[in-house]
């Protein structure tokens, strides 16, 4: 299981890009931290989630 935004989800073996698409996130409007480290956008499709990973996905909406 992978803990994503506080919830244990069956997302192991998915890439970050695959998970974002499945969960409905726009990859250009998020920041993703995996085990406390930022995942660069260029590596979303190469970074595979593993059992035990703790992931925070922050989605940004417009306005400021």
């Amino acid at each position: 299981m992978v803990k994503i935004n506080g919830k244990n989800l069956d997302a192991a073996k998915k890439t970050v890009a695959e998970y974002l698409t499945d969960a409905g996130f726009d990859p250009l409007r998020v920041a993703v931290e995996r085990n406390g480290e930022i995942v660069p956008r260029a590596l979303y499709d190469k970074t595979r989630l593993c059992d035990g990973d703790v992931v925070e996905i922050v989605g940004f909406v417009g306005g400021g």
């Binding site: 406390g36 660069p40 940004f60 417009g62 306005g63």
Partner: protein, 212 residues
């Protein structure tokens, strides 16, 4: 006749305490985007006596900005950096103010904000927000990020909150209210700006680790 530097320092120490004031006055904070969030954040940090502010925006003041941004009608057409510099000088004459009238990118951010303990993300466009988050958290290992998402509409003031995402990453806002889909009112935008400024001051004071 404006107060002397010494008089202003004493007044701040009286309000905020000498120990905290010294931390604020030694600090450098960057504010990226000088709109409804950034201009209000900069005012609050300048009033609190943060020693050095780096102000970044490439845009000019427009009439539509005046309802929620810290600019004057006479400043329409000026670069926001120059206009805010003028306005901050009048309330905090002795702090260091540096302007960066450029578009912030992943390539220039680390150089533009060199020396900043905290970067405030106060952009309008979500892709820019995401870019800055990635850049600060990925390329500036000693710098905190205080970002914002969701402050549009007439929803409850209590919907605006501060969350600590990770050690160096704070996020303010309601997370969902998008400017493109709702009205923007000055009070709710300012609430979010105050959340961001307050998160910055807590970080500078070393209070951030205790609770959110």
């Amino acid at each position: 006749m404006i107060p002397t530097k010494e008089e202003m320092r004493e007044a701040l120490e009286k309000r905020q305490g000498k120990e905290i004031q010294e931390k604020f006055s030694r600090a450098t904070v960057a504010v990226c985007g000088l709109g409804g969030l950034g201009s209000n954040i900069a005012f609050l940090l300048a009033r609190a006596g943060v020693g050095r502010l780096i102000l970044a925006d490439f845009d000019r003041v427009e009439v539509s900005n005046l309802h929620r941004q810290q600019f004057k009608a006479s400043q329409v057409g000026m670069y926001k950096t120059d206009a805010l510099f003028e306005n901050l000088r009048e309330i905090a004459p002795y702090i260091a103010l540096e302007t960066r009238t450029v578009r912030v990118t992943e390539d220039n951010a680390a150089t533009l904000f060199l020396g900043a303990q905290v970067v405030c993300e106060a952009f309008d466009v979500p892709e820019s927000k995401a870019m800055l988050a990635e850049t600060v958290l990925g390329s500036m290992p000693d710098t905190f990020l205080v970002a914002a998402s969701g402050m549009a509409g007439l929803g409850s003031a209590n919907g605006i909150r501060t969350r600590r995402i990770s050690r160096r990453f704070y996020l303010c806002g309601d997370g969902v209210s998008e400017a493109a889909e709702a009205c923007l009112v000055p009070s709710r935008v300012a609430l979010c700006a105050a959340h961001q400024a307050h998160a910055v001051l807590r970080i500078l004071a070393g209070e951030d680790c205790k609770d959110v």
